[in-house]
């Protein structure tokens, strides 16, 4: 069994065992980001439209085409057949394979040369044809290397990105019977020209995919770089096209819109080297266009998933995905890789194949920000995770942990025990720099376990006198409810108390509603929506029945209430309304301090830290939330300038349950973040989501780095005037 077809757990372990994979993919992601951003910026300047406008325009084209798909298929078929092509619509992978094999058999064809086609990968065509005595040869260099190594693509556009040049030299040497110098990449590339030529000359058929099927003329459009696709369609007498039905677009004008977005998003090229348009069979030749469903119509009919059919297979979602950088596409996906692979695999290959990698996604939301057709991938992945959970694919420890978490009183008692245990550990010297000195297994040792403070955030607030108000914000005189957030309340009590102080400083009083617990986010993220509903209802009951605005230290809870609650109560009008009445009043603290509870510019004195930088909570940043740019808030209030942090919006690796389910992924992403922090040279790192604070602090503690990690509320409250 090869590296890419083994069970998920084996693939996961194998990808971690390659020490070069992480740095190579990191290098790739960073250089792609830079050149892609430059391309998109030039496109925006030239068209005088924003990327968002451009992608929404093209997404609208795809959506309206998908709505009237049968009409466009009929139009395409009529035009293509008038030009001499044969068009067949097939429902399953087996039907597609059988059709191609039958045509080959009847023409006496035993060799097919292939240009890159993800649909042919989807239906595992090479393997299936081989079973029927027909040889298929890949002619795209990357695909050919995969075929020689008996592997699957690990990226939609750069299929062999996981292979090292030493390995390439080895497999090429074996195939061609000569030695290759691994450092002479041009010589290896040149060998493809010679090594593949004989196959083109003797093949009876050429097979290509299609980036678009143009209905108005019945044409296919294919985007390539190597020149192999044109050879594969010029020498053999039969041309097969394998394409998903979602590739239909109405017109050439739409093809041009697609091309504005596709090469720039895929390889950061203005245009790929070859954009080839073919209409019908060439004189004396045959053309067979296979339009494949294989789960696509079911996707279209599935609530929240249908938009994934807009996908133009650019691979951008993998290029910004932090966990993809750690494990690569053989693990992060099945045959389709990256965020889109986590979604569409369920429909093309079944929920069994889709379930494994679900836990790797950190829900940072970066994928959607670069998607050229604006697919709501983060929401879709949560939907698929939910299906996997319903199908019984969640690990036992996770199910137990969530059940415990969902019971506020039990949770409270467990936390009390943990706090007492931590206190005891302090007494006997097992606590150092606020973390337990525990011997941890190697898989987990990259992050220390925080010692639990004795008093919760709520207790701290209730046990002190309110601050007399210092400034008149527009909410002065109001009472504000504080939602402490379950994690922060127990593990970052000073952050919770600091938030209350900052609200009080703006002239409002703070009320901490009793019996508040958890918004349901951990369970929702894990796909356990039943438990999430129970937790959400508890929180709604704790927060409803007042007109007061609600402020929280946790932007993740704001997202949970605003985005996830409506989905949880989709079919329950009563609770949907009750949920909305609460989520309408929720504010992230940073947004509050710039908005209703706005504190004046420069009102906070300079503190003791020599230099600071800010990690912006990824999910809020990628959602473009007001308040996500906490560095700007802190600069405004303190007059201190932040040090530059590279990639401030890339996930820190906490990812909710991901860092527990796949600790090596959490560790790898954390390393990337801590390296950027070290490079910034700051001595204080501030961030805005409690989970990130705990994760970054525990990671820094375990790695022995000496910067301090703070929730920005702590950083700001420490600068409030001492004796007003």
């Amino acid at each position: 069994m090869s590296a890419s077809t083994a069970p998920f757990k084996t693939r996961y372990r194998r990808s971690l065992s390659d020490p070069d994979l992480k740095p190579r993919l990191l290098d790739f992601q960073r250089s792609w980001r830079e050149s892609r951003d430059a391309q998109v910026q030039r496109l925006e300047q030239r068209t005088e439209q924003s990327f968002d406008e451009l992608r929404r325009d093209f997404a609208a084209v795809k959506d309206s085409t998908l709505e009237r798909l049968d009409d466009y298929i009929a139009e395409f078929r009529a035009n293509a057949e008038a030009a001499g092509a044969t068009v067949v619509e097939l429902s399953t992978a087996a039907e597609a394979v059988n059709y191609i094999a039958a045509v080959c058999k009847s023409r006496g064809i035993d060799l097919v040369v292939k240009s890159k086609s993800m649909v042919s990968e989807e239906i595992e065509l090479n393997h299936e044809l081989e079973q029927r005595g027909i040889t298929a040869i890949e002619t795209d260099l990357g695909e050919w290397l995969l075929q020689l190594a008996e592997e699957r693509p690990s990226h939609l556009v750069m299929p062999a990105i996981h292979q090292k040049r030493q390995y390439v030299a080895e497999i090429l040497g074996e195939e061609l019977g000569r030695e290759f110098d691994p450092d002479d990449i041009p010589a290896m590339v040149a060998s493809a020209r010679d090594g593949l030529r004989r196959h083109y000359l003797s093949a009876g058929a050429g097979l290509t995919g299609a980036n678009a099927l143009v209905a108005e003329t019945g044409s296919i459009m294919v985007v390539t770089n190597e020149g192999n696709m044109r050879l594969a369609t010029s020498l053999p007498d039969v041309h097969f096209v394998t394409a998903g039905i979602e590739k239909l677009i109405p017109s050439w004008a739409d093809a041009e819109r697609q091309l504005q977005l596709l090469p720039r998003s895929a390889t950061a090229q203005t245009l790929s080297t070859y954009t080839t348009c073919i209409t019908g069979a060439q004189p004396g030749k045959e053309m067979h266009i296979i339009l494949l469903d294989n789960g696509r119509r079911a996707m279209r009919e599935t609530n929240t998933i249908g938009d994934a059919l807009r996908c133009i297979r650019c691979g951008a979602c993998a290029n910004v995905c932090p966990p993809y950088q750690i494990v690569g596409g053989h693990t992060f996906g099945h045959i389709y890789t990256g965020a889109i692979g986590l979604v569409n695999t369920t429909f093309h290959h079944g929920v069994e194949e889709a379930a494994g990698p679900q836990g790797l996604c950190v829900s940072c939301g970066a994928c959607q920000t670069v998607c050229p057709v604006d697919i709501p991938l983060p929401q879709q992945i949560l939907e698929v995770r939910h299906r996997a959970h319903e199908g019984g694919h969640a690990p036992l420890w996770e199910r137990i942990a969530l059940r415990l978490w969902a019971r506020p009183r039990l949770f409270h008692h467990l936390m009390g025990l943990a706090a007492a245990g931590s206190g005891l550990a302090r007494l006997i010297g097992l606590v150092q720099r606020d973390h337990l000195r525990l011997p941890l297994p190697r898989r987990l040792g990259w992050r220390s376990v925080p010692a639990m403070p004795l008093r919760s955030g709520q207790t701290l607030i209730r046990s002190r006198r309110p601050l007399s108000h210092l400034w008149e914000s527009s909410s002065a005189g109001q009472t504000v409810d504080l939602f402490a957030q379950c994690l922060a309340d127990r593990l970052l009590p000073t952050a919770v108390d600091s938030a209350a102080r900052l609200i009080e400083a703006g002239g409002s009083s703070v009320n901490v509603p009793q019996s508040q617990h958890c918004c349901g986010l951990p369970a929702f993220d894990a796909g356990d929506w039943e438990t999430a509903r129970r937790m959400a209802k508890h929180t709604i009951e704790a927060l409803e029945g007042s007109e007061r605005q609600i402020v929280t230290t946790a932007p993740s809870c704001v997202i949970s209430m605003q985005d996830h609650w409506p989905r949880l109560f989709d079919h329950d009008p009563e609770w949907r309304d009750r949920a909305a009445a609460v989520s309408e009043r929720i504010h992230d603290l940073a947004e509050w301090l710039d908005g209703p509870g706005r504190l004046p510019d420069g009102c906070l004195s300079k503190g003791s830290s020599k230099s600071w930088t800010a990690h912006r909570f990824c999910q809020a940043s990628n959602r473009n939330d007001a308040g996500a740019r906490i560095d700007q808030l802190v600069e405004r209030l303190t007059g201190e300038t932040a040090k530059l942090l590279e990639e401030p919006e890339v996930c820190c690796g906490f990812g909710g349950l991901t860092s527990l389910a796949a600790p090596e992924v959490g560790e790898g992403i954390l390393e990337r973040k801590l390296a950027c922090v070290a490079e910034s040279g700051c001595d204080t790192l501030i961030t805005n989501n409690p989970g990130c604070v705990i994760h970054l602090r525990a990671g820094a503690n375990a790695s022995g780095t000496h910067h301090e990690t703070l929730h920005y509320a702590e950083f700001l409250a420490a600068r409030l005037p001492k004796n007003p």
Binding site: G142, V189, R230, W252, E256, T267, T270, T273, Y274, I278
Partner: protein, 169 residues
């Protein structure tokens, strides 16, 4: 509408970014002189280029691709060029039309300066109105390339490894 010289300048930028080269030629003789200067071999030419040049070696009628595979220099003609992207549009319905752009080492594509359109949208507008042209049409942007081995950009894979656009006029 931008001026002709602006379009040529933009086109030159786009082509250069795609590792292509540009020469300005005043006549077809000029294009030929440029082609023969590149190699000792006689340039091979596409049927469309032969019509203009009246010289050079044409691909074989029955087995056009094999007959010119890996020849040093080939000349063909583009129907139009796109300033925005530095691309040329080749209309090549038969393998014989395609042979030169597929398999020669150094490809020379001649195009009239006035056939340089501003952007890809204009190029596709033209294509959409020419049903027969779309039988086999390719926007070519520079020489063939791959980055499939460790993302190392290598120019010249299965198609030409050098490409020069000769702008006429």
């Amino acid at each position: 509408m931008i001026t002709l010289s602006d379009r040529i300048a933009l086109f030159a930028d786009g082509l250069q970014a795609a590792q292509g080269e540009l020469v300005q030629c005043s006549s077809w003789d000029d294009v030929w002189e440029h082609a023969v200067a590149l190699s000792d071999e006689t340039p091979v030419v596409s049927p469309a280029a032969y019509e203009q040049l009246q010289r050079g070696e044409l691909p074989d009628d029955t087995d056009p691709l094999r007959s010119i595979a890996d020849r040093s220099v080939g000349v063909t003609v583009a129907t139009l060029a796109v300033a925005e992207t530095g691309s040329v549009l080749l209309i090549e319905p038969t393998p014989r039309d395609r042979a030169i752009s597929l398999l020669t080492r150094h490809l020379i594509v001649a195009v009239s300066a006035e056939d340089i359109v501003e952007d890809l949208a204009e190029g596709f507008l033209w294509l959409g109105q020419q049903p027969r042209a779309a039988a086999y049409a390719t926007f070519v942007t520079g020489p063939s390339r791959t980055a499939d081995i460790e993302r190392s950009l290598t120019i010249g894979v299965q198609g030409p490894s050098r490409m020069t656009v000769a702008v006429l006029g």
